[in-house]
Point group: C2
Amino acid sequence: MLIDEGLGLLTEEEALELLASAEVGRVGVTIGALPAIFPVNYRLIDGAVVFRTGVGSKLRAASSGNVVAFEADDHDPVDRTGWSVLLIGQAEVVHDPELEERLQDVHLEPFAGGDRSALVRVEPTFVSGRRIVTERT
Amino acid sequence: MLIDEGLGLLTEEEALELLASAEVGRVGVTIGALPAIFPVNYRLIDGAVVFRTGVGSKLRAASSGNVVAFEADDHDPVDRTGWSVLLIGQAEVVHDPELEERLQDVHLEPFAGGDRSALVRVEPTFVSGRRIVTERT
């Protein structure tokens, strides 16, 4: 494992495996040229990130086919361990009954209520992951 | 509280209070025009986000005085509750012995080892926060 400043680089396979294990991630978009980050409930389906959203900056980004960043991580403050995965790709709004069915099977349901009927898919063109490497003393 | 699609908007005071309660947040930067998000250990000092970093995209952003996004959140998957705070501001590399001393008092020490001697400060020009509003049935 390549180690850089206390962080070990994950393989793409490891990164996608960790991404599949989490359920809250963060989408990085721009709003009027300013960067913004918002959490979403998501699932990894066939290697792509899928989340629901309502009217707002995430839907605007997807409707415009913007390239967005997606990040998920997990940390244990006691053990001081953790991992993070960054995925970059073009966001798109999808209308796909088969995908909707698969999402029902994996229970993609945002914690927040309200109208989040739009389905956004981010097919990765770049995936990287890092894990905190605990030094053995 | 203004409620929008299952999310309640927090006041700036509430948002900063929650930001002060967490210790891992995420910085949104651009790398060659592509968006990227990386987790950092941080502290809120006098209303500004402060974190340590080493050579890399976060340090480059701060050295260039880039405007960055900073996000922290917390979610309870069982209760389906949670909050998130977004802060936007110009990042700067700081050399400030007094700040270094204060950071020792609040134990800002990245979970990951390695050389993270550069201190980055993000003074917010924009702060917003949202909390999942649980519907009473």
